[in-house]
Amino acid sequence: MNSGAEAMVRARGLRKEYGKDESLVRAVDRVDLDVAPGESLAVMGPSGCGKSTLLHLLGGLDRATAGELWLAGRRIDQMSERGMAALRRDAVGFVFQAFHLMDELTAAENVELPVLLAGRSPRTARRRAAELLDQVGLTDRARHLPTQLSGGQRQRVAIARALANRPQVVLADEPTGNLDSEATLDVLRLFERLHEAGQTLVIVTHDARIAATADRLISMRDGAFIDETRLTGGTSGQLGALLNLDG
């Protein structure tokens, strides 16, 4: 299959190099990847393994040195800058470790912004933001500035913003990296709900908790994939085995 039509994300021989000759670094080294529609995929690895670079390539934030890349059936590795910008706005939702909210805008305005940038009316934007803030449980914080919110609340606003234009894929880079245990659980719950609603998700992380919510887990080292695991259909129904209760 060369069209990449069935996969939501498809990469072949994807490579990203920095520097040259002696100092050449292959941040992403000949990666092949297929993410099915509605699938939740986690890429795990130590910092510096290339997972963030990979995510940036998949979302069109950065360009690959070589390889082919499709998003929702469209070949994007040779797309124009303009086309890439529209793609990032309409087809991809990004969630970052450091939230990247606009500090001068309220929670609601942060969520409205991408809707307005996509050319929708202010009324549509307001309605969409209200709907999403309700989904992430922050209706009562809609008029707060990011600095008035906890880390967990900021990340929930960022997730609402990522969903603003109903993206085909949500790409998350260490979404729980700056959060305490309680806030992490809130984000895990949100990602589980998104997954159940059929959202395609790619999460890069070194947090085993968020990785464990995925259907499939890929381990990455030195820019390459070294191991792949399907996490579904595991120990279900035998939770007691975790405690040796059956002994």
């Binding site: 085993a208 464990a212 381990s219 996490l231 120990t235 129904g237 939770l239």
Partner: protein
């Protein structure tokens, strides 16, 4: 089922076996699903033989047969007090896994990194299941707190596996 757990549940007041079972189910939530229904009765019988509990047959309701009510003996009460004062913590068998890696490498029987990968897959599946169970528990559930402990332990084990992998990845293993 650990005998002391059943003994301690009788410390408040004498109970029927089915009451103890219900209490355990409430405390353990989905983790108690693996518990065999007969286990509590087997344990009670052992405790009675050991002289730590006594039983008394009580008249059944119209819709139920006669049932035994269990109560602690003086020795049973003493054992509960001792158990509460004991400091113990479940031991995960890290040494066994560590020695398995060493033996596999020394004998050239298997790649330690492959063993680590297999172990990680298993722990991640358990983490997924425990987390899902934790998220499904209502606020303030007793079992949620237990599940949080399970999740934290699995995270610690996974971190140790990362350290194992870093250490073994560099070593030369002849297969």
């Amino acid at each position: 089922m650990q005998q002391e757990v059943v003994l301690a549940l009788l410390a408040k007041e004498p109970s029927h076996g089915y009451q103890l079972r219900a209490r355990l189910r409430q405390a353990l939530g989905p983790l108690g699903d693996a518990m065999n229904d007969g286990q509590v009765y087997v344990t009670l019988t052992r405790l009675e033989k050991a002289g730590l509990v006594t039983s008394e047959r009580t008249a059944g309701m119209p819709d139920r047969p006669d049932r035994k009510a269990y109560a602690l003996t003086a020795r049973g009460q003493q054992r509960v007090a001792e158990w509460l004062a004991e400091v113990s913590w479940p031991k995960p068998d890290l040494a066994e896994f560590h020695l398995k890696l060493l033996a596999a490498a020394a004998a050239g029987l298997a790649d330690p990194v492959a063993i680590i990968d297999a172990q990680r897959r298993e722990l991640l599946r358990r983490l997924r299941d425990a987390q899902r169970a934790a998220m499904a528990e209502p606020d303030g559930s007793e079992a949620a707190l237990l599940l949080e402990g399970v999740v934290l332990r699995l995270q610690a084990d996974l971190r140790w596996l990362e350290a194992c992998e870093r250490s073994w990845t560099g070593r030369k293993v002849r297969l």
